[in-house]
Amino acid sequence: MADLTQTQIAQPTPSRLRFKWNTIFDHLILIAGSLLMLMPLVYAFITASYDPVTIHREGLALTFGDELGSNFEKALFEKGGFTKTVDGMVMLKNSFILGIGFAVGKIIISMMAAYAIVYFRLRFATFAFWIIFTTLLLPLEVRILPSYEAIQRLGMANTYSGLIVPLIASATGTFFFRQFFRAVPEELVEAARIDGAGPVKFFIDILVPLSRTMIAAIFIIMFVFGWNQYLWPTLITTDESLFTLVRGIKQIVLTYSDAAIPEHGQALALAIVAMLPPVLIVIFFQSWFVKGLTESDK
């Protein structure tokens, strides 16, 4: 403490000056970065306040027009699409079902897989784990044809389960939970055994509550990941009432006849709506997220 003060007194001006310049420089970089990331959003939001004709004629705008409210309203509530049965709210709902189903499914499956690998004397536990791990090399895009074929034959095309189930196997989740479970002290398992907790009770009463920050962190990552799925939903849902936002935006723009001008304003409004939930989730659960990845409350 004393040392620090003395150093500061010894050379006040240069150190303070350098300090200032550094800060300004850092902030300039950060501000430039944020602007770069934000500008497309700002453009999209402002341009969403014009009618399609103006957008078509003048392109992106930087001053507000007067159609903002109506564009958002139409995007969300007006029945659109080829069959005129689906509106923005339905797609929003579908996106939530996909995002939540995807995240919850992944968590359940990977927790149970990790539980089996870590706590049971399986003959080939390590081997099984590495097999699961190598599926990282086989993302959906690689196995998309066989997956599609399988789901199609099972009659699960155009169902929520067909949309979600093929995506929920998770090597990453299994890996994270495995590492977490391995760090749980052995004595805790033994104390629970003596306390008469069998495998199921131990999992539900002890392991799941212990993992809750971990679960929250993985939920956030996986929700965003699931929400942004594009390829698989495009392939497996042809029924418009099952469209998610991410894939539905394009549909809105496209369904008008060749002569008409695409509803750019509505599409931009919908794009903004599609972006919001993941952003909000990340902002609100930030602290959980950091906790889950760093804290060890064991």
Partner: protein, 349 residues
């Protein structure tokens, strides 16, 4: 309440390591038995076999009248306290203590009553709603004790329960644990590497060394008639002096360096031998045996003098009011306080 009987118990780990050599002993109902030995000697392994957390390779284990070799830990009616407490971090103190009862299907009101009673016994009543992370080390260890006593087990098992506490708290908890066990009258097996804990707490001590039982006896027996040089130097601080000596045909005991000790040789012995003398069984300034003092250690109530006797390392402990400095000083050996061990295997002669 129960008697525990081990018959020919033997443990070989799957990797082929023999952690506990064949052993048999009986722990009486209500007895407090301490398993003591250096780290890695198999104490925990033995305790965990009694708990059912580790398979018994060979032998029969009885708790009460029941052979429990193949009984699940939950059904052995035992309770265990671990060194790192092993409390459930997400449960309150009350939930921690009641969890085992809940799993046995005991009603909520009954659990509450038992938890309250245990909490009162352990001064934890004010902390029942806290999480383990909000408690001090000593309080956590008390909760672990509470979790053990609410179940009213036949047998308490402790695996170095006080090793994570600071010295002062350890002394205090030592007394509390002992008093609690007396009061409940529950049979207890207590593992420690600390010979002071063993001496102060045990009804009987079992000294383990390298997976083998060296000696079983009351603290007094262990201290006054150690069965081997291992027991002699492990139990007691500072440890017993062990000197290399030879017994001549006319029963004189001579140190290897030529100094003759004024002690009576044991009847049936001759040739090379080990002579053990506890540091407190010597008197300074009397007798004829020269002791070369090199270092004086102040312990407050005592002084420890380290040096050599006939060229071999030697320590003497004297009372605090006994002035001492370095240099050569005569010492006399208290008659009858000399132990003899075989030089081949270290066992008592």
């Amino acid at each position: 309440m129960a008697q525990v009987a081990l018959e020919g118990i033997h443990k070989v780990y799957p990797n082929g390591f023999e952690a506990v050599q064949t052993c048999s002993f009986v722990i009486q109902d209500g007895e407090f038995v301490v398993l003591v030995g250096p780290s890695g000697c198999g104490k925990s392994t033995l305790l965990r076999m009694i708990a059912g957390l580790e398979d018994i390779t060979e032998g029969t284990l009885r708790i009460g009248d029941r052979v429990v070799n193949d009984v699940d830990p939950a059904d052995r009616n035992i309770a265990m306290v671990f060194q790192n407490y092993a409390l459930y971090p997400h449960m309150t103190v009350a939930k921690n203590m009641g969890y085992g009862l809940k799993n046995r299907g005991i009603s909520k009101t009954e659990i509450d009553a038992k938890v309250q009673e245990a909490a009162k016994m352990l001064n934890l009543t004010d902390y029942l709603d806290r999480r383990p992370s909000q408690l001090s080390g000593g309080q956590r260890q008390r909760v672990a004790m509470g979790r053990a006593i609410v179940r009213q087990p036949d047998l308490f098992l402790f695996d170095e329960p006080l090793s994570n506490l600071d010295a002062k708290l350890r002394n205090q908890m030592r007394i509390e644990v002992r008093a609690l066990q007396r009061r409940l009258g529950t049979t207890a097996v207590y593992v420690t590497h600390d010979q002071v804990e063993a001496m102060t707490m045990a009804d009987r001590i079992i000294v383990l060394n390298g997976g083998r039982i060296e000696q079983i006896g009351t603290p007094k027996e262990i201290y006054s008639t150690p069965a081997s040089t291992f027991v002699a130097s492990f139990m007691g601080a500072p440890p017993m002096n062990v000197l290399n000596a030879t017994v001549s045909s006319d029963k004189h005991v001579t140190l290897d360096e030529g100094l003759e000790l004024p002690v009576a040789a044991p009847a049936a012995s001759s040739g090379p031998i080990l002579v053990g003398i506890r540091p407190e069984d010597l008197t300074l300034g009397e007798g004829t045996t020269p002791f070369d003092v090199q270092i004086v250690e102040e312990l407050g109530a005592q002084r420890l003098l380290h040096g050599t006797l006939g060229g071999q390392a030697f320590s003497v402990s004297v009372n605090k009011d006994h002035e001492a400095g370095t240099g050569t000083i005569p010492v006399s050996i208290t008659p009858g306080a000399v132990h003899f061990f075989s030089r081949e295997d270290g066992f008592r002669i």
